[in-house]
Symmetry: D2
Subunit: 292 residues, 4 copies
């Protein structure tokens, strides 16, 4: 699936002051990203606060995104969890027509064995009517999907790639080295996008691109076109702002950056708390020059 190469954006879910979903802002966000060159969009990812949106809101967000995007770029939808049966039920109850792939995080908190991870994803992929992208993010899940497990799962006809946010370059290389033709290995760490493309990976699913889509997608494209001199310089230009995106929990930081850009409010739902004044000041200072 060549179309999921380049810059994917894990879209935030904009809220209004009363913490209800702000669909107007969601439309603005989608248009802002499409106008600035990103390659595909991810709805209901972690950055989209999938943890705290309701089932009804998820349904509305997906329907809205499909209509707004209208096939201009591929649409990836997040469904994952640490209860295998519950994930299957969510898939069965979702309207996945028009969804190009699912992004499914590996089980968090309950720390299954590699065999458990394999069985979990096999059951999930068996149940899914659309292709599935694995998501490995040990810093959140407390559990690593080892390269051997990813490669074993890559044999499943419905499993088409992995978003790798382990930060472990050797683990990523091991997947790239032995993966089936066409299996996508996608960075899940914005600051490792260029280095990961340099060893053969297929792009990024990004947080930063929400707010800085032009610069971020230009960077990814340059790297994928083997122009690393310029790509490396762009990568380094995000050094100051990137840690601020996580300092008080994602998407607290990027939502404030989007508020600065006039795209949406910075409202988040508990247990996430609004950005502190100190964080806001530093995000403002670090954003200068990243608009283009």
């Amino acid at each position: 699936m060549q179309s999921l190469r380049g810059t994917g954006v894990a879209l935030v879910t904009p809220f209004q002051a009363d913490h209800s979903v702000d669909f107007d802002a969601f439309a603005r966000l989608i248009e802002y990203n499409l106008a600035n060159g990103v390659n595909y969009l991810v709805v209901n990812g972690t950055t989209g606060e999938s943890v705290t949106t309701t089932a009804e809101e998820k349904k509305q967000l997906l329907a809205f995104a499909k209509k707004q995007i209208a096939g201009r770029v591929p649409l990836v939808y997040g469904i994952g969890g640490n209860n295998t049966q519950a994930v299957i039920d969510l898939i069965k109850n979702a309207d996945l027509a028009g969804v190009d792939a699912l992004l499914s995080v590996s089980p968090y908190y309950n720390k299954p064995s590699q065999e458990g991870i394999y069985l979990h994803y096999t059951a999930v992929a068996d149940a899914s009517p659309v292709p599935v992208i694995l998501y490995n993010v040990p810093g959140r899940t407390g559990s690593n999907v080892m390269a051997a497990t990813t490669l074993r799962l890559a044999q499943h006809p419905s499993i088409i790639g992995i978003k790798e946010a382990s930060g472990n370059m050797e683990q990523c290389m091991a997947i790239v080295q032995d993966k089936p033709e066409g299996f996508l290995v996608i960075s899940g760490e914005d600051m490792l996008t260029v280095p990961m493309i340099s060893i053969g990976m297929d792009g990024i699913i990004s947080v930063l691109a929400n707010a800085f889509p032009a610069r971020f997608s230009r960077m990814t494209k340059l790297a994928m076109d083997d122009d690393f001199h310029e790509a490396g310089a762009l990568q380094r230009s995000f050094l100051a702002i990137n840690p601020l995106m996580y300092e008080e929990g994602n998407p607290v930081g990027v939502k404030f950056a989007l508020e600065q850009a006039g795209i949406c409010g910075a409202y988040v739902r508990l247990p996430l708390a609004p950005a502190s004044d100190s964080l806001k000041e530093r995000i403002k200072a670090s954003s200068i020059g990243l608009e283009n």
Copy 2:
């Protein structure tokens, strides 16, 4: 609340071969633990596979446990999560009559700031009709509740203690040092039970005690009675078996140990996978001598 000192047991949820709850075995497990001196029981904790039991099963398990325990020891019930509103809704919909305290894990996966953790627990405690015990387990949640945050939360009238599974002795000492009178600081790591009591903590909520309640509760009692010579020896006797409890994910190991003891089957739900043959052999070998 002095009654939650000593050995608490995070009970497993026994399943039958068809993965339905085995209530007969659950009764056996409760009796086995009570007959062997444990001080209180925890239902619907992580070890109880709270992640993969359904809402209806949770309701049945709690009702069953209340009836079986019949007030012989305190009963702690697990309700936690990473969506503040959802945790509040679970509390409101549970029948907490007869429950002595809630055990509520801090938000996993979405990594809130310390302010977010504070706001989350404050909202949860405000909503709870019974006392609340915090639960800090960074290896699962990807997020640490710092001592300063615990101490801030300890001022809430409904928050009566913390289960600390960070493994960070200095963090635990910092809580003990500045906590309000009566605030419970409970070990969440079986192998640190004795060391943690030595610096002023109040006992343990244990996994191992499910299968080895006599030895484990004797150990805790000796330490709390300042007989560390014997307590230390008992602590060391669990060295070989303890890592096997986690090697393929908890409660995979302890359920197999319980199967060996004739208490319940070793069945677990996905994404947890049954114990491998290698793990089984090592648990068998390491269990010898731990019965009493």
Copy 3:
């Protein structure tokens, strides 16, 4: 060797303003420690800046310490390194009459295998005319001495114990569990002294005791006498000051604490730099109440 139980002190090496050794202050330090109940003294340890004292100074310091201590307590002397032959040569050229034991750090920087560590210490112990204590401090050496290696070395007739500064309680328990009768397992982490004694260890070789010998040795003695209630409270009283001892490199902090106590100047040799003003202020504030 029962006499190396309790509180050992890894003495600093006092310097004058011109960075030459201040023997008068060294005498004061020894007397201050002996007057306040410590059980034995360590000369030329890491805290004694063994890295930056010259061969001639080491010879003078050892001779001076022997004379000053005059057999009142045991004397341990530090000789270790990452070049096996060089360590052997140092041992052969030292006057070890009157030295009760050597303390020998495991090879740092070059990261030998466990077999290499075994061969190194075997050669060192074979060459030593006095008993040898191993020293495991992975945070400095970049290499861990595993429990199995320690237990293998514990069979050597000249190897009588280990100073364990891995911070790994289970590793320490594993040594205690299977060690030969009389083999010493000594904490190398001041803040884990009480917990480590609770699981059967034999005391501490301390940094903090240089400046707070009365309180520190009282704490150790209480724990070894199974009075953990009071020992735990004393352990917790060092919570604030302990990290300051390491924040700018040891012994920068403890030398400033000793300067405050009127024992010696705070001078250190490069690459250690003098305490910053911020550190000084915090050490002053945290020292209050620790004198007794």
Copy 4:
């Protein structure tokens, strides 16, 4: 100094069966590397067992290397340590005519503050008659040279670069981003060579290149020429063998690989121990196909 870009090789020091230096093999090693396209050579680095060669041997090795290389490529010589005065003395006593730069590891084991590291390197650079390259390898030294400290030191006229083996890509990017024109930022991790070049670094000082100079230097050159497709493939081809180089301590593994290649014996000095049979078998199997 453009000439220190590309592939530098941290040469092993070959020994004979009696553990004396094998100068014939040293000559073979140098010629093997030069014949296969490496860009410069490092003598008396960590991989050269600088820890366990004597002062006299170091003098001979340097003189021999100068003569053998005869100006065909630049020569870097290792002098570092954790005792600032001792490092200065070593520099003053070395014959550095014909040496293009010193490679000087940051202080290991005694963990100075960033200010201490700054003062140490400033004193070292002040004393050096030739340019100095910093070396940051926290996994060995127990201490990190932060980007801000490196950038502060980069202002010193004699400090021309850093070998960065922290594995921290963001730290490396931060140095590249703000470094003075011409300051070299060199990878110290073989498996991160290509990713590090992709974000603007200047090459590698390599262990693997000793035994696989043709493939390794081709990889580096391709990356520096912005042909990442092929460079990434070559980088991945070292995935299996690289961890074997460190499993029992470096240069145990690479010396065995060199023995297989007929360049030198695999002898190492204590505390390093000879490769185990298991390691040998796996190195043999992993070497296949890496010759060219």
